[in-house]
């Protein structure tokens, strides 16, 4: 039982980071139906920006998070403007391949500028343990979970209770109608990229702290995992990405704890396949039947 609780806590804190990345995938997909494969690399750049800022200035967690989130938000908007906007009316596969290209570009540029070897991320959070019976929780886990939950609450608030959130939801249901109701669609899409990328930037810093090491290719695996999390929960659905991310984190932790960490990815993929066979639109997705 203790073992189970322990793994559950580990899983939730790791999963909440997947969820942060997954939110960016799902929001961008929701609004322009693009799987933004460069999203994992924005997360990686978030970690690097945090790393540079924290080591150069010696400042703490909150300023590092803010700088990294702002940088990634701007980067997301610029990428959208340069790489995706000209392809707005092209086929979806074209945009998808462009996204893969952007991903390679970001990885290679980071390798060129920062070198290929791992960097040690400064410890921005106090090291320490809280013991509850036989279950231990690190301070880091508490902070990571608190920050991700705060960010998710903020996101949920923006999406459901503000004018730009309503515009995002309107554009994602019917772009043309939204345009005719006075919504600036381009601005709304830019904002969506900014929001998703800022969350990825935050995730980058948090992962840097969690594993205390970052590399230019660190975005690959979590990027794919977060994409799976988004599909898992139902792509395009915001709460789906949160649930999907946390579930994948828990599954991974439980498999590593009870079986072998070698199998954790395999189990995640098998469960994904089962879910998609049973509920093709994901956990929270609605299956839309074609009317004949």
């Amino acid at each position: 039982m203790n073992q189970f609780l322990q793994q559950l806590i580990n899983g939730i804190s790791l999963g909440s980071i997947y969820a942060l990345i997954a939110l960016g995938y799902t929001m961008v997909y929701g609004i322009i139906k693009l799987i933004n494969f460069a999203h994992g690399d924005i997360y990686m750049l978030g970690a690097y920006v945090g790393f540079i800022f924290a080591t150069k200035t010696g400042m703490g967690l909150v300023p590092t998070l803010i700088v990294s989130m702002v940088f990634c938000a701007i980067l997301g908007v610029v990428i959208e403007m340069i790489a995706y906007k000209p392809l707005r009316n092209a086929t979806r596969i074209t945009a998808l391949i462009t996204a893969i290209g952007v991903s390679y570009f970001l990885e290679a540029s980071t390798q060129k500028i920062m070198g290929t070897s791992p960097r040690a991320f400064p410890a921005l959070l106090p090291k320490g343990l809280i013991k509850l019976g036989k279950v231990t929780i690190t301070y880091q886990q508490v902070f990571i979970l608190t920050i991700t939950i705060l960010l998710m609450i903020a996101l949920q608030f923006i999406v459901t209770k503000t004018k730009i959130g309503r515009a995002m939801r309107a554009v994602s249901t019917d772009t043309d109608a939204a345009r005719l109701m006075g919504i600036d669609v381009n601005k709304t899409i830019s904002f969506t990229f900014a929001l998703g990328s800022a969350l990825a930037g935050a995730a980058g810093v948090l992962v840097g702290i969690y594993y205390s090491s970052i590399t230019p290719l660190m975005g690959l695996v979590p990027g794919v995992k977060a994409f799976i999390a988004a599909v898992f929960g139902g792509i395009g659905i915001i709460p789906g990405a949160m649930i999907g991310g946390i579930l994948i984190g828990i599954i991974e932790a439980l498999v590593s704890g009870y079986g072998s960490s070698l199998y954790k990815d395999a189990v995640v993929y098998v469960i994904l396949i089962i879910i998609l066979v049973v509920k093709p639109a994901g956990l929270l997705g609605k299956n839309i039947r074609e009317k004949v």
Binding site: K163, A170, D174, D176, A177, M181, I183, V185
Partner: protein
């Protein structure tokens, strides 16, 4: 006073002129009907006037701050912001949003707070959101949908979806309102109710209304003036009585003998 004017407006699709050399003049406060057989180019004309399509030739001018401004080829949201709103022939509500949120999306352009005041929840955010909330409720009251405000738009019955589209268009605070077949699929009772609604909002919101409609009883009943399109060209205009007896119009609808 002229509020909307087109001169020689033309739109080609490939070799086909869907709208050809159409010159209209709409006066402030008028209720104008646009009729014509299927495929005559009525919706294309609406799409040109609301910025969905760019004109191939000709001009569109809208009265903005007491002078005529060319709006041909402007982006749809810019045109909406200049005071033109519309509904759609095949209903295009934001289906997954609540009735209330559909209205609020329409009001978006008139909500004045930035992302920062929203995230930090500054007083400005609350003031503006409360104002928008109250105004949205008032609009729902006008179309009699107040008790449905928290339902998803897709769950409304058909007639109420039509009414919600009208309310959403009103939410953009228009001076000119285009209604694309508002009575399509309605029974005679609903059509009567709609007729009253159109008259009511025209007066209450000081609107100029242009409507496409196939239900002749509605058109003849509410419209002060009617334009008739056939094969993309204007073939007649005038008051309902003269249109009813116009030979060209009868030919267009029934064919020549």
């Amino acid at each position: 006073m002229t509020v909307l004017e087109t001169k020689n407006l033309t739109r080609n699709f490939g070799g086909l002129a869907a709208v050809s050399n159409v010159s209209l003049k709409i006066n402030k406060g008028e209720l104008v009907g646009l009729i014509g057989p299927n495929g005559a180019g009525k919706t294309t004309l609406f799409n040109l006037l609301t910025g969905v399509y760019e004109p191939s030739e000709g001009s569109i001018e809208l009265l903005v701050n007491d002078s005529m401004k060319s709006i041909g080829g402007l982006k749809p949201y810019t045109i909406t912001n200049l005071g033109i709103a519309r509904t759609f022939q095949n209903i295009r509500l934001f289906k997954e949003l609540t009735v209330l949120d559909n209205i609020k999306v329409g009001m978006n352009k008139n909500i004045k707070y930035g992302a920062i005041s929203a995230i930090l929840r500054l007083p400005k955010y609350y003031v503006e959101e409360n104002r928008v909330h109250d105004e949205a409720l008032k609009l729902l009251e006008v179309v009699n949908l107040l008790d449905k405000k928290d339902e998803l738009a897709k769950n409304l019955p058909y007639g109420e979806q039509r009414k919600l589209e009208i309310a959403r268009a009103l939410a953009t605070n228009p001076r000119v309102l285009f209604l694309d077949e508002p009575a399509a699929g309605m029974n005679p009772n609903e059509t009567q109710e709609l007729t009253n609604l159109i008259r009511q909002i025209k007066n209450e919101f000081d609107l100029t209304v242009i409507l496409i409609e196939h239900d002749m009883s509605l058109v003849m009943n509410v419209c002060e003036r009617i334009y008739v399109l056939d094969y993309g060209k204007l073939i007649a205009q005038g008051n309902p009585e003269s249109i009813k007896n116009n030979k060209k119009v009868i030919e267009a609808y029934l064919g020549e003998d």
